[in-house]
Symmetry: C2
Subunit: 465 residues, 2 copies
């Protein structure tokens, strides 16, 4: 089997299955089975979320999946944003339900009726909770594993604060948390402010974390939303201030999903398959015994090695009916960061052979030093993946000055844009691409591509997933 990554879309659609992440043959569109290896990676990511959000004072909760239509309809913009894309439960057994229930497309409308019961006074604030659940969207567009699904493995943090400023500080904290997550997953990104017409239904503004896939298309992998009092008013989430007055709380959310795994697959992988960042790889080191002769002795030694390397996530591939060559191929496909080979000669010399998945470099190291060497190499692989991906992404974002250039550019174009909806619509129409958003941290004077007005605002223009 060949894995040319040139045709990215084909490569991606194939690799997620052959590397054992998912099975796409489930008989409902946009819903896949997580196979053990894929699920283990996602769980490693989830567990890191639990760790980091707990450090930042968030508590984990778990809300029901079903939301009554009556609660859902309280925030008008929100419902308009979702009404075409929710699944409706209309019957229990053979009987029609009195109040229809929907499968959460996100949990604002499930959570906020409860917030109004939980929050009484300023002493209850800030409220910082998160949950890791599946959400459901009736996507009519083409679905794609991890990227556009009808059932989505989802992370959502919800916070409530005393003031708008506190909510703003929460979003700054979210960005700080995100940076740590990006290190863990070795993912490059840019943070953008979404255009007015593209923000989350009900939000005052939305920030998107965007990465660029090898296809040149952008992928939104996290979002931060400032809700202000847009939800607290319809849901009646008030608190008693120290001065005795009542005020509605200010809210934010932070969302992520299995798209993160899609980004890891797409951005780090190569012609041989996946390359997993060591920090989240279910197997960091795979031991492949080279058992041409002295089989028993070498297997025994391999087991000893596994025992010695307990501080890492190690798997010993002692399958009897496969050649070492097949095993190399198999674990490269699955993206294991380091391979450890041990054969008769290595045993004699008290050494092992290490092979890096990212550079395919071979390193011979003595048994005395190999623990330290492996720690060092895993660190290097993690760092190398991040830097390589960052450099590649940089190469996929190009500063341009004309509509024609945007059309010709098969990745992300960066252009001056005054920020108006009118000029934005024109850019999208003329280029047949989308305004992904305005990069948050770059300012530089120039003229809007359409109206010529002086502006320091940029737009990224690209085809998003």
């Amino acid at each position: 089997m060949e894995f040319p990554k040139e045709n990215f879309s084909e490569w991606y659609n194939e690799v997620v299955e052959v590397a054992g992440l998912v099975d796409k043959r489930y008989p409902v569109k946009g819903m896949h089975i997580w196979r053990p290896y894929g699920w283990k990676i996602m769980q490693n990511i989830d567990n890191y979320f639990r760790e980091i959000f707990s450090e930042y004072g968030h508590d984990e909760v778990n809300f029901p999946l079903l939301v009554p239509e009556t609660e859902f309809k309280k925030e008008a913009e929100h419902i308009r944003g979702f009404e075409d894309e929710v699944f409706w439960v209309t019957h229990g057994g053979l009987n029609p339900l009195e109040v229809k229930l929907l499968l959460r497309p996100t949990s604002e409308t499930a959570m906020y009726p409860m917030f109004s019961l939980w929050i009484r006074s300023h002493a209850d604030l800030p409220l910082k909770i998160f949950q890791i659940v599946n959400i459901f969207r009736y996507e009519t567009k083409q679905t794609r594993t991890f990227i556009r699904m009808r059932e989505v493995h989802f992370f959502e943090a919800h916070t409530a604060h005393e003031s708008y400023e506190d909510a703003e500080r929460q979003i700054e904290e979210d960005i700080e948390i995100w940076k740590k997550i990006a290190e863990k997953l070795a993912l490059p990104y840019r943070i953008v402010k979404k255009a007015e017409w593209d923000k989350f239904p009900g939000a005052i503004y939305s920030l998107g974390v965007e990465t660029v896939m090898p296809s040149g298309r952008t992928l939104q992998i996290a979002t931060f939303h400032q809700y202000g009092q847009n939800f607290s008013k319809p849901y009646g989430i008030e608190y008693l201030k120290e001065n005795g007055e009542h005020e509605y709380v200010y809210q934010t959310t932070f969302g992520m999903s299995e798209r993160l795994l899609g980004a890891i697959v797409g951005i780090h992988g190569d012609d041989r398959g996946l390359i997993l960042p060591p920090e989240i790889a279910p197997i960091q080191v795979v031991i492949v015994p080279i058992v041409t002769k002295k089989k028993e002795e070498i297997l025994k030694e391999a087991k000893k090695i596994k025992e010695e390397l307990k501080e890492f996530r190690v798997h010993l591939d002692d399958r009897d009916n496969y050649t070492p060559g097949y095993k190399f191929y198999d674990w490269e496909l699955r993206g294991v960061p380091l391979r450890l080979e041990i054969g008769p000669r290595d045993m004699e010399k008290k050494q092992v052979v290490l092979v890096r998945r990212d550079t395919r470099e071979k390193i011979i190291v003595s048994r005395e030093e190999y623990g330290e060497k492996i720690r060092e190499l895993l660190g290097e692989i993690q760092k190398n993946l991040k830097e390589k991906a960052e450099a590649e992404m940089k190469g996929r974002i190009k500063r341009v000055g004309s509509i024609e250039e945007i059309k010709m550019n098969n990745a992300v174009s960066e252009v001056h844009w005054c920020g108006s909806e009118e000029c934005g619509a024109k850019i999208e129409e003329l280029t047949e691409k989308k305004i992904i958003g305005s990069p948050v941290h770059e300012k530089e004077s120039g003229k809007c591509l359409i109206c010529g007005k002086e502006t320091d605002n940029f737009a990224y223009v690209a085809k998003p997933y």
Copy 2:
């Protein structure tokens, strides 16, 4: 607030909320919010499931929630068992779906179409997988937290084997796994074979793990089902034998749910609230500083203690605005197994005060030995809870010889029963109770309570939850 456990039902319904496990005010019947403390206990249980099932060679997967009506209807008995109690998704957005989808009430019908793709030859067997997901049942009976819900946090292991004997051995292994789980949760139980009319829809036979709540009602907390080829035939799950013939696989399942937490709450708790087995308690030791004077010094020391006791799950309650007395009350309510008090006198004497939640015994121990002492006490508490619960359960099962005695007994009656459906129906009718099943490991000759036939089979008769 008082917690008389005498009125068990009231006590239970209240304690699950005031101890911070769930919030029942969600506006859909039978669906509760898991609050952080309750969710953490459930996650500790889930993570133990992951550990133990992985040790026994099971892989974790995650299947979609929605099952097409067409797949669901393949096994006739199964659908009849569930058709009155499933939620139906009929619309996506504003459009009716071509094929209706149901929310899984259990995952046989989602998984087995895939099994028929995954299993090709004897080399693929045994297949042993599990998942931890939420399931949905449109319960029409009264709902009760953890015990009878419409959304249920669920564990299900599914296996496929070459022969009926292999499937039988799997069930033996399941029982072995269950025993370890019961130790971890300190739960007493009896394993029964369910009556013919009470087995899982589609199973050849079902075993139930039953415990007895303080109310005298039984609670089924785990089940093992032998499916034989009842599902593999309609779903076409065949394998190629070594001799070249094709055969349908033999299947089993092992199910558990949040009911386990209900059992822990009900069986171990007392008038002061929860008592959690140390093995799964989110907080094993809570440090309460007694800060009548020397506040700064004592808080500093308490932090040092927390650091020193890192091998345990320790929480330091350094809340400023609560008295030690309130904190004692609060953590007793939440069932923390050990309280550690440190005050000015203890600091001087280089000692701490430990208080057991189960016996309320006070132990003064020097700082030199306290790590070891805590380890020992947590072990004792775990053991004591199990033994106490086992003794209480024994007292709730009574050997009887007449219908009148069964009616008078407000817990579990054990009677000789020939096993026939006719005599069983009569027992249920005359006593207005249910046959819970036949204890698996007890045999003793006697006469059936109804027909008088010689039999070594018993029935447990009780009111089940």
